[in-house]
């Protein structure tokens, strides 16, 4: 079984929480958003109109305010804030305004799952 990191929206995080009974579901996801808050070891990214996600950073994550980032991480509980993502790796896509259409691949999540999973 190869490693999969599904591209998700904040609303999908619960389906990938470790408490999820289905052992075939991975806890590692990919999420794309604009960095809107940096607080030392945590950060917040905003995924367009689809809500915010709290990230738990690693010491060597170098997120920059206002940049569009793609994060690969594990879904975990964040104290007092519900679900969040523990960052394993991040990729900086640069300026959010250079991204013509945010998240087209998530338009129909069921459809997308059908192709990739």
């Amino acid at each position: 079984m190869s490693l999969q990191t599904p591209r998700v929206l904040p609303a999908h995080l619960h389906a990938f929480h470790p408490s999820n009974a289905n052992p075939h579901v991975t806890n590692t996801v990919r999420i794309l958003g604009t960095v809107t808050a940096l607080r030392g070891d945590t950060a917040t990214i905003t995924c367009g109109d689809n809500g915010d996600v709290t990230l738990i950073l690693k010491p060597d994550s170098h997120l920059q305010m206002g940049k569009l980032v793609e994060v690969v991480g594990k879904v975990t509980d964040v104290e007092g804030q519900g679900l969040g993502v523990r960052v394993l790796g991040s990729f900086d896509w640069g300026n959010p305004s250079d991204c013509g259409m945010l998240f087209p691949s998530f338009l129909d999540r069921e459809l997308w799952l059908m192709v990739v999973l």
Binding site: Q4, G89, V116
Partner: protein, 276 residues
Amino acid sequence: MDNYGYGSSSYGGGGGFVPGETNSPAAGKSADGNNTTLRPITIKQALDATQPYPEADYQIDGADVGSICFVGQVRNISTQSTNITYRIDDGTGEIEVKQWVDSATADTMDTDDSKAGAGKNQVVNNGYAKIFGKLKTFGNKRFVGSHCVRPLTDINELHCHMLEAVAVHLFFTRGPVGGSGGAGAAAGGAGGADATMGGVDDYSAGRNLPAMSPVARRVYNLLKTEPQSNEGLHAQLIAAKLSLPMPDVARAGDELLTAGVIFSTVDEQTWAILDY
């Protein structure tokens, strides 16, 4: 009814009938390197691709694949004397990509690079890349033999690729956009996958067709467009025209008979479109 060997259907059929070839030139012709299609896919699809028999073309969604292209993040680069091996991850899976180093081309590429500014056009670890190549297997391990691995820096290109992969997948599994009601409705979520996908072949005319395999669709299409008497066409002739092995045509025929869109006329192997 599957007694026909591959040989009998390959070139023998047609006996004196000179066809006005109305099908797309790409139809048929597989396993001999003549498949010049380039299909956008995800790595999951590459890993799940099947081979009907050893040495045959790989198939994804029941359609032969020639060349493929995909995008993903580079997880590892290992440079050897004869090839560069990349490990690529696109979120749907991971696959190894081998790019053979030809000393002659390597030299010219070096010159090009130095002109363009060295290091600017480099594929780097954890960066995104777009890969063009062909599916291969060595031992039990699947990999991609690539002739082009280039860096990808625009996120729109990533999104575009993923949508293309979905659109092509839907084309092969559910038929062209607007072709059948069921497909159109189910694919509604994909929204604007536009009419260009439907333009590939004129399936869309007439009434709604049930979901069917690509081969069955081609057989149906031939029956629809080929000049014929009211006896329809014989399976052998269909096999010859579409360059398909007889068993495939027989299976497609069964499918179409079951779906009630064709009927057998003078014998069980001669079919005509069931029009009403």
